[in-house]
Amino acid sequence: MSDAARHQALIDALGAELTPVRRLLPPWRRALAWLAIVAVLAVALFVRFGAGTMLHRWSAAPDLGVAACGAVLTAITAALASFVLAVPGRPIRWAWLPVPSALVWIGASGLGCLRAHIPGMPVLNLHGANDCLIFIVSFSLPLSGVMIWLLRRACPLRPVLTAVLVGLASAAASASLLEICHNFDAAASDLVMHAVAVALVVGLNALMGGRLLSRA
């Protein structure tokens, strides 16, 4: 069979089994659905812990507030970027979208370790820092799972890059949620543990999520 005939045979076969399909919703609406899940978790944490501790920390040390805003913005922009990049034909420069907010998040968190401590607020010891790691990882994994499940309906042609963005969005969302119940001042051990948690989540996503998405 010649190549032209092979193509024609395949096109005829694909045409014969054509069924109407439901078009994929725009990326921003799909990202919004995922962010709604994060918002529900945030509301649940606010109900449980209240906003008092968080607001006290922010008023005493505005850099913590800036870092938290950076984390929230990183979660939003990384989620949007991953949903956009999962649609074929969208420019790869979307991957840069979460970078500025991630820099604000990381930069402000790092600066927090250099200033004077908030009076009356404990500094985290290693045991407490472990709890942060567990919190971020245990919130990130289901959030990543949901996003990968949503992304598999699209067609991520760059699975590893998309999975890295999924990891970044989930880790940033979890760090934002942690902010609600994080009753500690910034310290180097805390910052290191946050960085380890984020790196772990992004790395796991790149490894596992990339594989799952490449089969989508």
Partner: protein, 220 residues
Amino acid sequence: MAQALTFEGPWVLLRQPPPRGPDSDKAVPTDIPSASEQADRQRAAWMAAAQAGDQRAYTRVLNDSVALIRAVARRQGVAVDALDDVVQETLLTVHRVRHTFDPSRSYDAWLSAIAARRAIDLLRSHGRREHREVHDEFAMDTHADREDASTGTLRQQEAERLRKAIETLPPGQREAVEQLGLKERTLAEAAERTGRNTGALKVNLHRALKTLRDRLHGES
């Protein structure tokens, strides 16, 4: 006409006259889309109709896509004799992910991204295969294949791997491989035996071969 003149008023006299010269016939207003843009829009409209189930529009857009897929694959560095493999893989992917196309955007950009990815996949799989294969004429001359016990065992192991890989295929794909590949039945015979139409059998066979290729190359 009088109305038009009244509306335009004296300002019409101040406008620049249209440029005249050797190229004046070619001058095209910027708001009119170029031929390639028009073709792109036409393909986008066909694909939008295909998403709603229009078979005629679908075969048209797929037929129209073949040349573009070949051009993209060529740009990616795919050899001429492998271009048609990229076309086949891309058409199958287009079919699977047709719901991701947004008719308000360029069809050509959407298709090119998929074709480029499939071209890269093909180049990578060829790269892996060449890496595994030995191209050493001296070795070929001095160590010709001998039918010893290990060759038989190796063949048995390969057959076993293939058999296991076929067993793990989804039922429709397994059926297509068994009927068309192993039992060497014609499409019509296979369709009669399985109760499926020939189109579905062909698509299932294409998918099964792709899955088997991926699995067997991925394992080794």
